[in-house]
Amino acid sequence: MAQAPAVGPLPAVALPRANRFALSSGLEVVCLRRDVAPIVSAAFMFRSGGACDPPGRTGLASIAAEMLDEGAGPRDALGIAAELEQLGADLWLGSGRDGSQLSIQAPRETFRAAMAMAADILTQPRLETTDWQRVHNDRRTGVVQRRDQPEAVVNVVSDRTLYGDDHPYGQPVDGLERTIDAITLDDVRAFHAVHYRPNHASLVVAGDFDEATLQAELEKMLAAWKPGAAPPAPHPMPWPSRPRLVLVDRPGAPQSIVRMVAPGIDRFSPDRPGLSMLNAILGGSFTSRLNFNLREKHGFTYGAASSFSFLRHAGTFAARAAVFVESTAPAVREMLSELRGLRERPITTEEHAKAHATLLMRVAEGLSSTGGMATTFGELGLYGLPLDEPMRFVAALQRTTADDLRSLAERYVDPEAACIVIVGDRATIEPGLRELGLPPPELCNADGDRL
């Protein structure tokens, strides 16, 4: 068939019907029905994450989250694990920059029992010394092992470089070896007491559950949970000076992990839809400029990409690729050239249409599973956004023109001011990098400490 078939109009994307109520404790609850599979997803989102870690004790929010299911209410740590498996329930506890989360996914038949366990975990964690010693040691070993993984190393080093250690987003959410050592069980207890409060949280329930009885059941399960005073908000700091070039030596590595980072925008900025579209063109799709250049045209890499992360107090722009060690300097040159090209090479009509369709369908795909629905609406709860925000985003995509994208590129993508972090074989890559006119290289170890 020689002719490409005609393609009809894109389907409309609709939000699932959301039912919203508040418990007497102040907990905001959003319920969404989906009955494609007999499962239910629930996500408690707490508005405190790694950004709330005290100075010198980064990792506290995430290790506190990890401690909650190490014994709670009538069950010890292994008792909780065994009971969850008996129920066929997955439990996930963890922290990001802006929030901490307890998520469960369970079959319809056992969802109520799994939620009752989640309630125990949130409101009656035991936080005992013997469990703490084990979890604390496991975490310490985990952050040491992070040095084995070049992608994890580049994450740590690029955030420390871009934000600086004094910024709430500067140090890794999992912590550093020395900051983990500084955390005590009392810190964990205090973090739980202050931050795990119903008036500082929201809950999403999505899937195949009985909507009529949910509210009364939640009131009963969470009856002991009392509101607390609002915890202090973290203080963002000014951006440290840029540009910089930071190298982490990984002798003999067959690839270099290249990351370029620059300030982006926060979650509440009206430019978020436009920058998401701009990113689809630059590095957020397979046919994006970065991937086509570095992977398809030059064969430097298995894949190159870019992203914006939109956080509460700030955001990051990042471009990334793992490149063949011998191609490191040419790959960096091409990445910089594509960043520059976003201002210099006009955005085509085709690129603009692709960006719109890509983002629209990402919304639709995000709503096409119970886990995705819980994630989408959980994020709205975390940032206190209205429930129709995804549709406002869709409307903004529709309004954003190719000219708008060009002016966003002018304002937000400045390769001359980016920090470049590379984890690779220094002896092989440094001579080539020195010819690119970049700032003088600074050396860090795999934790991002200056050498």
Partner: protein, 430 residues
């Protein structure tokens, strides 16, 4: 009763087609499996099935490179492919208005790929695949062990002897003539199956599938090399590797019954009881009680020509692999002697079934599962049989299957840190 609703029919050229309607989202998925994997490669051309998968995106007669990606992405669709020892799959997901485009693109490359493939395109993807190898194995902690295990477990003449990613030398040796020969032999309607899933009208979808695929010629399924002898290790094997890692890791491997063969489901259950989660025996013993391991795992790696049962543990700082091996072996011996308790088996089964339900929530997972059953069982109607084999496991059947496997000879692979790794950060202390 758990099901995935579907309609199925076979085109005159031998292509089985499976339609699964789900109108809960405005999305469609097209999923094509070819019954060819790295097991069908020739000596000197390891990694070829996977390299070929990359070339399937390099254009066809009516959709020249890079139209395959650019057309669907212009409408918000996306795609990928994966290759294993046993099969190669390709899928597209996107808005429902792309259904005909997806079918046209899949049909055009099945009909015409070998006409248009060039040295330049092969060279391009050769470099991409070599970088995939570096990223996924060579620059990844413990990646060297993943490459060494199949080589040690299977003799050189067995088609699982080499890893799916292949060797750099073989990837470099591949020619356009190899591409054409491989395509002509394996990429034919009778060696594939097609699933269409999502938001569409079944009668309309059937018409479209017939329009794009039914005209393609009927060719018999490809001839295959005779099935290899069941692999057996002549003796226990020990391998010591170093890697760019901070902590030593133990990897134990045994031969085990093939995918869907008697005992395969029992060994999934045994793996869960032994190392499947926080309530597993290895976790309780090595991580929770003794605190000598940072992580533990066990799994039944099921494949069509025979499976590998794998157990692993990573030593905590201050502990060594002999100590880890002794503790792991004690738990293996105890499970082989006593079998799981009723409660342990119930937990393993409930977890397995719940994971199955959770997968069914995703359109792409359902599409892939229908093709998986078509590939392995010769019919998409496999959910009932698949579920039943887990329901039928008993503590006695799990013990018996597990004891038989671990009574066999095994590979004991130990990864220890390269001396240079310590230069990467402060020294590791207990």
């Amino acid at each position: 009763m758990l099901t995935i609703a579907f309609d199925t029919f076979v085109l005159a050229n031998g292509l089985p087609v499976i339609l699964h309607v789900d109108r809960s989202s405005p999305l469609v998925a097209v999923d094509v499996w070819y019954h060819v994997g790295s097991k069908d490669e020739s000596p000197g051309r390891t990694g070829f099935a996977h390299l070929f998968e990359h070339l399937m995106f390099m254009g066809s007669r009516n959709a020249p490179y890079p139209a395959f990606d650019s057309i669907m992405e212009s409408w918000g669709g996306h795609n990928n492919g994966t290759t294993s020892n046993d099969r190669t799959n390709y899928y597209e997901i996107g808005p429902r208005n792309l259904l005909e485009t997806f079918l046209w693109l899949e049909a055009d490359r099945l009909a015409t790929l070998s006409e248009v493939i060039t040295d330049e395109e092969l060279e391009r993807q050769r470099k991409v695949v070599q970088n995939e190898r570096r990223q996924s194995y060579e620059n990844r902690p413990y990646g060297r062990a993943e490459l060494a295990i199949p080589e040690a477990m299977y003799p050189p003449e067995h088609p699982y002897h080499w890893p799916t990613i292949g060797s750099h030398a073989d990837i470099e040796a591949a020619t356009v003539a190899d591409v054409r020969a491989f395509f002509e032999r394996f990429y034919r309607p009778s060696n594939a199956s097609l699933v269409v899933a999502g938001d569409f009208d079944p009668a309309e979808a059937r018409t479209l599938v017939e329009k794009y695929f039914a005209w393609q010629p009927r060719l018999p399924p490809p001839g295959r090399a005779p099935l290899p002898a069941e692999p057996r290790l002549a003796r226990d094997i020990e391998i010591a590797l170093t890697d760019r890692v901070q902590l030593p890791r133990l990897r134990l491997s045994w031969h085990a019954p093939a995918l869907f063969a008697p005992g395969d489901a029992d060994l999934d259950m045994a793996a869960h009881v032994l190392g499947g989660g926080k309530s597993s025996r290895l976790y309780r013993s090595l991580v929770f009680d003794k605190r000598i391991a940072q992580d533990v795992f066990a799994y039944q790696g099921s494949q069509m020509l025979g499976s590998l049962f794998q157990v692993g543990a990573t030593a905590k700082p201050g502990h060594d692999l002999p100590e880890i091996a002794a503790a792991v072996t004690a738990e293996i011996d105890r499970l082989a002697a006593e079998g799981p308790t009723d409660a342990e088996l119930a937990r393993a089964r409930n977890t397995h079934m719940a994971d199955f339900y959770k997968g069914l929530d995703h359109l792409q997972t359902r599409a892939d599962l229908l093709n998986h059953y078509q590939h392995v069982l010769g019919t998409p109607d496999g959910v009932g049989r698949d579920v039943a084999r887990y329901e039928q496991t008993t503590t006695a059947s799990v013990r018996e299957a597990f004891a038989r496997v671990v009574a066999g000879r095994h590979l004991d692979l130990r990864v220890t840190p390269e001396p240079a790794a310590a230069a990467n950060g402060p020294a590791v202390t207990a």
